[in-house]
């Protein structure tokens, strides 16, 4: 009886991490970073454009926000799609009024289905980052390398052609990866990855062909987590964003530049009753001196130049 002998063996019990994607590193012991013009906090806004197919299979799991009812789940399909028709335009207007730019993470399916939306995003000066094919094509350990390679190629092809941009950033649907996702992304020209939630700053990330970087997209300062998962009020949405910002701002005074990332889903925060709270939070952040609004690529390049 008992567990197999292997259960009491620890082959990776040694200094540092138990996988070799990145080095163990402590935030306060790193070289302080200087943002342009002495800014303390880089504001990185990431609206996420999602398309959930009506006939979602949910393999190997359903992405958060996926269909809930029996087929055809018109209710959830259309509410998610609301983000791409209505909600995103409220968010884009809120950004435009404040002269803010964003990194828009888009499913390739959104770009292909709604080319007008992609043109608007590019025309308004935002960065496009890839968010995979669609919300029912999850990258996971059981996906064949061939299938994953083709999925990445198709996603990047659609988004690069549609946006006319190089598309350097990647956010996996549901932030899920296989063991080889970073290698395949590096091969296909991706410079930075937004899936890993273990840091507040960029760091070097190993892939087979070359080093890429992880960018710290918060999984918690995220409207899905705050408004849907935790059922917090709109005032709490503001508190989460502003409290996060104020602490980073204070810390930046001692330890060097920090990053405030905002992960926004237009079907959530683009609702009429919520949008004003996003606007309020943005105003509370922007009224401070020393906030540098930038895209993910700009933040990464500024960081890399100092390493």
């Amino acid at each position: 009886m008992g567990m197999p002998d292997d259960y009491m063996r620890y082959p990776h019990r040694h200094y540092g991490m138990d996988q070799d994607r990145y080095d163990w590193s402590m935030l306060p012991r790193r070289k302080p970073v200087q943002w342009p013009n002495g800014a303390r906090v880089a504001l990185w806004i990431v609206p996420v454009l999602e398309w959930f197919p009506l006939d979602m299979q949910g393999k190997p799991f359903k992405a958060p926000g996926g269909m809930v009812m029996a087929y055809p789940d018109l209710r959830h399909y259309t509410l998610r799609d609301y983000g791409n028709r209505v909600g995103i335009y409220r968010i884009l207007d809120a950004l435009k009024k404040r002269d803010l730019k964003a990194s828009v993470a888009a499913n390739a399916a959104v770009a292909a289905r709604y080319p007008h939306l992609l043109r608007e995003i590019v025309g308004q000066g935002h960065e496009v980052i890839a968010h995979g094919l669609h919300m029912d094509r999850i990258h996971h350990g059981g996906m064949s390398e061939e299938d994953e390679k083709a999925t990445i190629a198709q996603s990047l092809d659609v988004l690069r052609k549609g946006s006319g941009q190089g598309v350097r950033g990647w956010l996996s649907p549901a932030r899920s990866e296989s063991y080889t996702t970073p290698d395949l992304l590096a091969e296909q020209g991706i410079d930075y990855l937004c899936d890993w939630a273990n840091d507040d700053m960029p760091y070097k990330f190993r892939a087979k062909s070359r080093a890429i970087h992880a960018m710290p997209l918060s999984a918690e300062i995220d409207d899905y987590a705050i408004s849907i998962q935790f059922h917090f009020s709109e005032d709490e949405l503001v508190h989460h964003i502003v409290d996060q910002f104020e602490m980073l701002y204070e810390e930046a005074g001692r330890e060097g530049g920090r990053i405030l990332s905002l992960s926004l889903h237009p079907w959530i925060t683009g609702q009429p009753y919520r949008i004003a709270y996003l606007e309020k939070a943005l105003d509370m952040v922007m009224r401070r001196a020393g906030v540098w609004n930038a895209t993910g690529a700009e933040i990464l390049d500024a960081w890399k130049a100092q390493q």
Partner: protein, 304 residues
Amino acid sequence: MKSDPGLYDYLPYDRTRPKITWPNGARVAFWIAPNIEFYEFQPPTNASRAPWTRPLPDVLAYSARDYGNRTGFWRMLDAMARHNIRGSVSLNVAMCDHCPEIIEACAKHDWEFYSHGTYNTRYTFNMSEAQERELIQDSIDTIKKHTGQKLDGWLAPALSYTDRTIELVAEMGLTYICDLFHDDQPCPVKTAKGKLASIPYSLEMNDVIAYLVNLVSPRRYGDIIRAQFDRLYEEGAESGTVMCIPLHPYLIGSPHRIKAFEEAIAYIAGHDKVWLATGREIAQHFIANDFDTFAKASQPVGSL
């Protein structure tokens, strides 16, 4: 399987309970128990629990835990140090190998180390007695080797047990456990060997339970900590109480949570009849002064 864990007798929280007197007439023994953990990227399977909700590799869950060691721990350490509150670390002892800088930082602040198993992804469920002894011995040896401390406390890794766990912990020389949630004061644990105290650890104050299960907002977490303290401080005028805040750096150490927490512990540390203690100190005091009177006052549990 048993219908009752058989670990304690009935001791009502009323006039029949012996009085606890803490050092210097403190009303509340206050301790913070940071869970400093390592979750493996590719943990082995255990039929009783899957490590992650998603299939391997679950990069989101793994990386969210790793956040605690890279960033959150350091914010938590600073917040506690500013108010002279030591931690009693509930330690996955493999952390001594993976991230020794964290162990050094805790030791420098005079923190206690007790055991939370080897990894938080290796569960006690389904282990043989020999394997369980090996697990406990690993903690005794690793903590001694890396910190010089004698291991006194146990909180089972990921709260996973066998029917033997508590008895083995007592037999192998530990003096307290944090696994029982039946009381706001320390209590004797009934074991065949050794002398083992149950020290209140509080799941309700635990940041994982508060934030992720009870969906408490970061600001409200500060409020409930104050309310919990106020009541235990009031009751502590009669007989000493214990308040514990169990923490996880991957949650409490995020920028949007740390401030409200720090304000709450500043409030507690600002009271004069508070004993800022460690788990070991509370256990030692209880075992020396109250263990036997509590055991004697306890009533056997009746049967149906």
